[in-house]
Assembly symmetry: C2
Homo-oligomer: 189 residues x 2
Amino acid sequence: MSIDQNISSLRLAILCLILKAPRSGYQLKKDFEETPMGHFSSSPGAIYPALKRMEDDGWISGRVDNPDSLRPAKILSLTDKGIAFLKNYFLEPIVERDLVYRMDQLMLRFAFMSPLVGRESTCAFLRQLIEALSSHVSSLRAVSRELENDPLEGVLALQHGIESYESTLRWAHDSLSLLAKQTQMQGKP
Amino acid sequence: MSIDQNISSLRLAILCLILKAPRSGYQLKKDFEETPMGHFSSSPGAIYPALKRMEDDGWISGRVDNPDSLRPAKILSLTDKGIAFLKNYFLEPIVERDLVYRMDQLMLRFAFMSPLVGRESTCAFLRQLIEALSSHVSSLRAVSRELENDPLEGVLALQHGIESYESTLRWAHDSLSLLAKQTQMQGKP
DNA sequence: AGCGTCATGTAAAGCGTTACATGATTTT
DNA sequence: AAAATCATGTAACGCTTTACATGACGCT
């Protein structure tokens, strides 16, 4: 079903950034070091090989800017294939696996999807997220109830997980209201 | 300073589980599949090599249970060296890096440290965590304030990060009160 | 003259994922 | 009799980390 079974978070973060605006490997490195996207940590030994592989895959292509300059930078842009990939990726349904293993990728999707697939799809994404989170929290609570004679610290650690998902759930509700309101206002100026 | 620069989450999770009670590779696999520790996902191709490496490092050692049985299981226990490693690891100070890149490891520490280093140290751990989280949230809020003309979705994604840390902060406060109360009560029966 | 930054990479080693392999036992 | 479970692993591949390497430019 899903076109990409697995894309690494680093690859996705890179694609998202050069979707927003084409840039060089060095600029990507800076972005990861200096912005709140920091936890897609990255050394040149991760970024440059990743760029090469994605160029080989035909998702991005580099063009040397200012070839005469003595310090030429290779500016990377998405190819049509790369754009198509991202579009498909952004529109995939959310499954429980995503919540547990790939929350970071869900947040990347949310932060970067609107320009490519529209605000409507972003709202749909949030509605799916709310659905998935609600059901996941319920099942975690069920597990928690069965842990009554486990060590207190273990129960509390699970409690932390539950509260994190609940916090994300509240955030999704709030963000959805905000986006929905803004989208309406854009419709009626 | 820090004795272990980097231990993988899988290695740490395995050590914690066999600290709680010695067990086989297969049992570890089951634990990761069936308990809320699920996100230390794991296939045999991850667990068995990790066990082998940790045996080579001298942290754990295996003893075949029921050697006569046709289905012998190799039960792994911590060595003295492994226990010493874990003890040191549990007592390391919390740094901002841990919050951003290794929250899962912090939760493992919390869940499993008490039997080895005592409730007092666990409370100290929570106090450090509260300290680190407070300061991290402040700095994220400062970043957020500078993002006023960025796309709404980007700002909201950062907001999600902030709220997650705040939720963890609330949890740490609550857990500390609970543990402190319980520890007191154990003192005066 | 030296240090920091721009800019791109390579090499080695370890870790994780997916898939495959084996063989006995228990359940349906 | 077939399927699931117990129990342990290996092989190939890709990704990440750490460290190293190169060279030009800009500031002090």
